[in-house]
Symmetry: D2
Subunit: 369 residues, 4 copies
């Protein structure tokens, strides 16, 4: 599949960091949906660089142009293509990278896979910039889930380096209760922990270094019965998508790796009736049992590695001369990619949810919550 | 997709815990492969129950019968169907479970998804028993990878409850060097830690409880250039498959969640020439960069939750009478599923690798390493 | 894909003419459907050989055994596997065919594709016998369409050799009005033409030869709006499936090839209101416009070539000795495959229709007509 | 799937007749291919309107712009997106068509499927104009097949209305021997028959009417062993694609419908050794047996209906007022779409062939003929 995703809803992304344009085609969209441009722009702005000293100073213009699939700003059901034309491209920055493989980047495996024909400028098609069209599609899906299905997706930065944010309590996961995180420039539960995290990022930046972190995502309002046993479990579908985002190295659902240190008598989420509805007292399984949603919030955490591009000198190999060499990556880098990855994770999850819903319920808006 | 998996190599599993038979259809197999029945039986025996006091006493007959796709024990290229007929099924054990939802199991979401028509006996199609045909396919794939591609997959139990095994060193990951783990009944690096782990399992069993753990898997011999950017990254493909295995709640590659606590200057795996081949000094990225293999061993850890079936009384709901109730699950349970899940993880990973290879190199055995 | 088919509903067929068993796995079936065994058996009996002197004397036992996916004869939603064990296999008949390529058969291309590893006995996986499990799936789909969606599929033998049956009039295509054809051993509109057709078949048989023919299929009760523009047009989906049936060499919809000899002013199916519903006066487009159903009956004709197996001596090549040779195919052959192919075509079309409906309307029985 | 096609090579088309742009994304292209812009332009010019009095006077600008996937005019292996911006759009011509359903067009089923939200201007996404990006992809595939695989695709207009061209003889189907047809404005074997065909088209045009016809396509140079039994037979794959082209109502392979009027002793293509290679004396099966290529040229004929848009008054229904009405379609129409459809058929077939080859041989150029 490579750059096409989806069972029923299909998303096809294209473009390179320094090519003509990057973009996305979304196929099988439900017709009759008003495209909430403001909503999409807000989500995309969260990913945009150059907002603060925490991110790269490259000012990418992420304004998209819709080429097809809408009519009077309403989806037609035909494939919707949106493109973002590349403007601020400084290709010269990358000319020395043609032969010298950046550690931690895709350069070397891409060189092998594409036999040297890949566009090496700024990582080419592997660039994190390609998450912009993915986010466009994701934000559109997210706006549909909110408006038509009562499903909300919210995330906080759960850790940066060794600083951890507070835990989200199950009691705080009702419908829109976490939506305020979307309005925060640096979305955390504890402002104090957030300050510590920012300090760690700036410290790394000062050292010409970078740091990673984790993002915790909560999806509320999804009812029981979505997903499949085995090969299309909700965990399978979500993890497949989340690992599509560059720099992700781990994912866990519910209690995740910590569940391995529990006893079954504690980890089992026992049921009880609440307001004549079946509910679970705990959510160690993160809203998914046997691969299928159980009506509890879906909770997952994503591990994001430190930005691979750093301005320090690093040992590597020149693949043409086949000699050991030292590389100092020039250009503008994010000291920490976590805050910008967060809305991409949300959008990516929204695409998975919408696809799961369309697979079970069909191509219709009638199945409102 | 649900119970069918694969891009080029296709695997379709079917069956229920207490139905007539469970089985698998493998499509697009390369023709001309001698089916190594001994190899497959050895791997399947590692998953079989009733071997020791660490696992359930149910003695499942996992002997498979191949119905198609082979001729004189050599693959023909036509779909290969293998079935395991169910024999030792005690359906009565499960009759009280029709209406009472077991905590930690798929019962409730399955009831909603299938509108009450699912086979509830022993979890039906959601039973861990369905991993037997998956393992059949996986073991076949694993034998092909070893014989024709020089790719070896090995795993150890990296933790049970709060007891952790020693770490695998990168220096120990050469080709077949970890193959000895396949011959161990309880595969660990440190026999002493292994003893502690066994003690924890028996302790949980004594308490009518269960425990979870983690499995670490290493894949050696895979060369650089397999996988895709974005939606079919190797991490995406592997995680999708691994989360298909019941009870898995987390996966991480390379340094995984710990990489989020590193600086970029440490986490980047710098390159150097070794024997005129490009190699990396470290393997924090677990053999995958930009979604593509970089020639280093693929390393991942899988989090497995405590067995959901325990013999203690648990609170739950009767979904027909819609009343709170208490449930004590009868029958034979594994106090810890980790040792039996381990060969399934290996086989599942083998299927992903073989599919990745066939997608790039085609349906041929000519691309031997 | 090869032996797996479907977008939402998935069908995986397996088996060889002289192997252990042939069978089918049907995935994503809607749960809660009573399996109408009588209906399925009736349709399968129409395909069974040995019924009359018009077909082969091989008495295949086509009695199927369901291994999974049903519980108390009701679909569970889990994959349904049905197998037919091979019994009356005379492998000796085919031993001389290992090296000598039968003209008109798959022998030669299969030998090349599978590098000689294919099961050559009776055509192996290429045998028309594999249409039995396909028909099982198709008959199940057909019974669902009839019972839950009010959709009926009926066919007549529209020609054998140069003898043509009467034309079906649009006025005769209401709901179940053509259902009587299913009860005929040799389904034709004109009994007289039918007699001529039978005579042609017996004449060919007497000459140790074979004849072909066409089948016309009408699908009533499908409402407007199913299908997709371009790559998943209803014609694309149906033709893809129908060409999966061995011996099919052509398909046409509505007026088909004859529409090329009409003027647009005649071929356009003009609309009019009838009982406050939109209808077309003619059906030259066979119920499909722009790839989407328009509410008129779907009509298509399938061209089936003469049985490739004939008892006359034929020139061919021995692929091992690489010498020209002469071959006389022994064994029991159908002088004409058309009557036995007819129910397979109906079932195959039913699978396509059910898949199209599930893709748009989801996995539910609530969208009854 | 709808607007995405392909197993290994993936093609995603988008756009509407009167939207911003139409385009295509091609995924999984082999890296390192020089994009032969001249070749592509030549093929696209054959489809362009306004060339002669035989086609519509709308002068579409079909000049494409490549947005991604190439670097220095060589494919990188990343998704290649090409767009054609719409320029000469006269939306006013179509304003009266919002509510009045054009007979023979997709208007009515599209209205139902998309619940009235489809872009009705010029047929929107259903417009024949969307075949331009499909042809871009197809011409690129065709240039790859020629240059790297020695596979040639050529077509002639085999009939217009009731005028038939001469037959292509098997002896004339060697490699590039039919390539001259690509340089003809009206590609036929017999110039005289071609004159009669043109006269029929102009006669229909004079009568404000339209005519249809057939196209015969020959593919040479494809070796034996490509394709699959059953669901991915070469006939299935080709017919699926060809029926994606608007106005196609039938397809037949080899002798096609005429094979139903032959005896098996004639229709079987007997083998003989020629230059130590296996060949068939005849080609009634059109190069495909058991769904797999047999090394003979692939031959198929496509039936194309008369242009649905005619300037005569036609009876139809106003779907909003739900009243019978009369419609006279204004605007610029082709009296016969066959000559412009021909290169689209060739390109579409090229995509299928390239996909079949990549599925078997992998993503490589090393398997040159």
């Amino acid at each position: 599949m490579s750059s096409i995703w989806g069972n029923k809803l299909k998303v096809s992304i294209f473009g390179e960091s320094h090519g003509e344009a990057i973009g996305v085609v979304i196929d099988n969209l439900i017709p009759g949906i008003e495209i909430d441009t403001d909503y999409i722009n807000r989500q995309m702005a969260r990913r945009s660089p150059g907002k603060s000293q925490l991110s790269t100073s490259r000012t990418e213009s992420d304004s998209f142009k819709i080429l097809s699939g809408n009519f009077n700003n309403i989806t037609t059901g035909a494939p919707l293509c949106a493109v973002i034309y590349n403007e601020d491209k400084k290709s010269k920055d990358y000319s020395n990278l043609r032969d010298t493989m950046r550690p931690g980047h895709s350069d070397y495996p891409a060189f092998i896979k594409y036999k040297g024909f890949n566009d090496y400028r700024g990582g080419g098609h592997f660039s994190g910039r390609i998450t912009a069209p993915l986010l466009f599609a994701g934000a559109l899906a997210m706006s549909i889930l909110e408006k038509y299905k009562g499903i909300y997706i919210a995330s906080h930065i759960s850790s940066i380096y060794n600083v951890e944010d507070d835990k989200i309590l199950l009691a705080d996961c009702d419908d829109e209760s976490l939506n305020y995180l979307k309005d925060m420039e640096f979305p955390v539960l504890s402002e104090k922990k957030g300050e510590h995290m920012r300090a760690e990022i700036l410290k790394a930046k000062g050292n010409k270094d970078s740091v990673g972190g984790t993002v915790e995502t909560v999806i509320t309002g999804i009812s029981a019965g979505y997903g499949e046993p085995f090969f299309d479990s909700v965990e399978s579908r979500l993890s497949h998508m989340i690992f599509s985002i560059p720099a992700v190295k781990g994912i866990e659902f519910g209690a995740g790796f910590d569940i391995t240190k529990m006893y079954g008598s504690s980890s089992n989420d026992t049921y009880l009736l609440r307001d004549e509805k079946i509910s679970a007292k705990t959510n160690n399984n993160g809203g998914i049992l046997g691969g299928i949603t159980n009506g509890m919030p879906i909770v997952f955490r994503t591990a994001i590695k430190p930005t691979a591009s750093i301005s320090q000198a690093q040992e590597t190999v020149n693949i043409v001369s086949m000699k050991n060499t030292t590389l100092q990556v020039e250009g503008r880098h994010d000291p920490c990619i976590v805050p910008r990855a967060l809305p991409v994770i949300e959008g990516a999850a929204a695409l998975v949810l919408l696809d799961l819903i369309m697979e079970r319920d069909g191509v219709t808006l009638n199945n409102e919550k």
